[in-house]
Symmetry: C2
Subunit: 339 residues, 2 copies
């Protein structure tokens, strides 16, 4: 089979689908002409995936991840459909690779684990199963049209990985806020989390008129208030539409959903004014709940599926972190107090 | 409990959620102050829901629908999460109803069955279980913020219902095409179906530069060609991204997904140029497949969740049908040759 920039040649079954749709990939660590092979050092599981695995398997979560990767040749949670991303060092570069990487570069893969051929060789012996950041030895493959960011020298690598994992959110938030005819009021559901805090910072810089962060607990509210990331910080359960609407008060023009639990669609819609936009970044979003919810509420809102790729997203997110000590502090706090 | 325009007072379990999220609604046909009660005459099941029920239950599909409605007080398929809509006659109007309906009006409910309190009283005796249009006697409830269209006198009611069921698609397609900076090339996946043919007609009137219909079979291609709804009609399996991209050729600026089967996300993304827009109307769309697919393909496309509500959508769709005999012919053909 000819080599495909989308990795079609790595698909073992079913034949002819793209790698993300495939049940099983060929994870052989020999680079084809336009591929790059990495020595993996760390996986960062998607938050929704990690939560599901942890709840389903408890302390057996390590074996559950090993089983998935052994069976599928990639880390794609069969229940949530989501993956995460990884960090590694370039081990080999095919002669036709367009990614501009060199052997020895420390990189983060910015395409999902759901389509990345992956082999684990250390049994995840160094992972305690309690955080979504997974120390890991093994190999991974990047395709011609993959995206990888060389890790910055000025930031700890765990911190950089953690930022890059959600770098699509602030970039798209920036684009949506700047695209509004007038400076909008912006609500971020889950404003204390990784994508949430970066989205708040991005919305502020893009000129949001009023910035509301909604968080689940008083502790998180205190942290976001102390960081000064929002004009208003409100506490409510994002899954409770009535509570969300009451907490937010006057409806906003842009709502950004960064809460990694199911059931946040209706609250986001209720909190958004007619003519406004909801951006769903959470992988726990239900398409039908959003579509039918807006219809059922007679809500004329534009609803965007949060695309993890926006050109320049990696640099944008890292620059935000560098420029906003409060965001960096929240990230570092999360790393040391991981839920 | 006070009466809520969103129907919160009709939710039996779990308490405090919106009707669409509820497991069970109170379907008592006594109108509260701002409600309208209908005598139901026909249900139109969502295509994805009907397909799933038919495949899972075969000829037992009638009992399956009865069981769902008896258990839940609404017709919401527990697997697909989707419902459909209904047609009926106004039986009673609460004194505070804002909908402007009168007893005896023939109406279609434009909010989903997933949030509409419903009671079936005839055991669906007149339904043969072979089409998604279900003759039905019973009662349904509309809330203060529901949407209902009075049926036009100049169109057969089955035809009108069939159009109203998908009227969000042409209205949003119109808005997206008109919102493009330059007249766009537009691709409609499933261009021979109900929402697809209306979306083609809407895109044409909104000024599409090039109009491509993708359909699954040569027969359907012949029908769409004969109708003159598109500049190009191509045959491919919408679930096969590689085949879709090859069939469409030069990538388009706007792709509208109207295929009611899972797995069409990646083909839609691959066929859309960077900077373009994909509108997902199919209830079979997977949020994570779309989000991760775009990321994995490094595709800078805007992805919209097809909102079933756009102001004026009912009149817009009915006017399209009246103005486009070819669309009407496709609808009537579908009714007599229902898959």
């Amino acid at each position: 089979m000819t080599v495909s920039p989308y990795g079609l040649h790595r698909v073992l079954e079913p034949a002819g689908v793209l790698p993300q749709q495939a049940w099983r990939l060929d994870a052989d660590p020999t680079p084809r002409a336009d591929e790059v092979v990495l020595d993996v050092r760390r996986l960062n599981l998607d938050a929704a995936s990690f939560r599901q695995l942890r709840e389903a398997h408890g302390d057996g979560v390590r074996q559950a991840v090993l089983d998935i990767v052994a069976r599928r040749g990639k880390m794609q949670n069969p229940v949530t459909g989501s993956g995460g991303m990884l960090l590694g060092t370039v081990r080999a570069v095919g002669p036709d690779s367009p990614l501009g990487l060199r052997v020895g570069d420390r990189v983060a893969s910015l395409v999902s684990l759901t389509l990345t051929p992956l082999r684990i060789t250390d049994g995840l012996a160094d992972w305690d199963g309690r955080t979504e950041q997974v120390p890991c030895r093994g190999t991974a493959v990047l395709f011609g049209r993959s995206i990888a960011a060389v890790l910055p020298d000025d930031l700890p690598e765990e911190l950089a990985l953690s930022v890059l994992d959600v770098c699509g959110a602030p970039a798209l938030t920036d684009r949506v806020v700047r695209g509004c005819a007038q400076a909008p009021a912006v609500l971020v559901l889950g404003g204390g989390g990784k994508s949430g805090s970066l989205s708040l910072a991005a919305a502020r810089r893009a000129g949001a008129r009023r910035l509301v962060a909604l968080v689940p607990t008083d502790d998180e509210a205190a942290a976001v208030r102390a960081a000064g990331l929002a004009d208003e910080v409100v506490v409510a359960d994002a899954r409770d539409p009535v509570a969300v609407a009451r907490a937010v008060g006057e409806r906003v023009e842009v709502t950004v959903v960064c809460v990694d639990v199911p059931g946040c669609e209706h609250g986001a819609i209720l909190a958004t004014a007619d003519g406004g936009t909801v951006v769903f970044f959470s992988m726990a979003t239900s398409f039908s709940a959003a579509a039918l919810g807006a219809e059922g509420l007679a809500a004329d809102v534009r609803m965007l599926i949060g695309n993890g790729y926006v050109p320049g997203h990696a640099r944008f997110a890292l620059d935000l972190l560098r420029a906003e000590p409060a965001v960096r502090a929240l990230f570092e706090h999360r790393q040391t107090h991981q839920a």
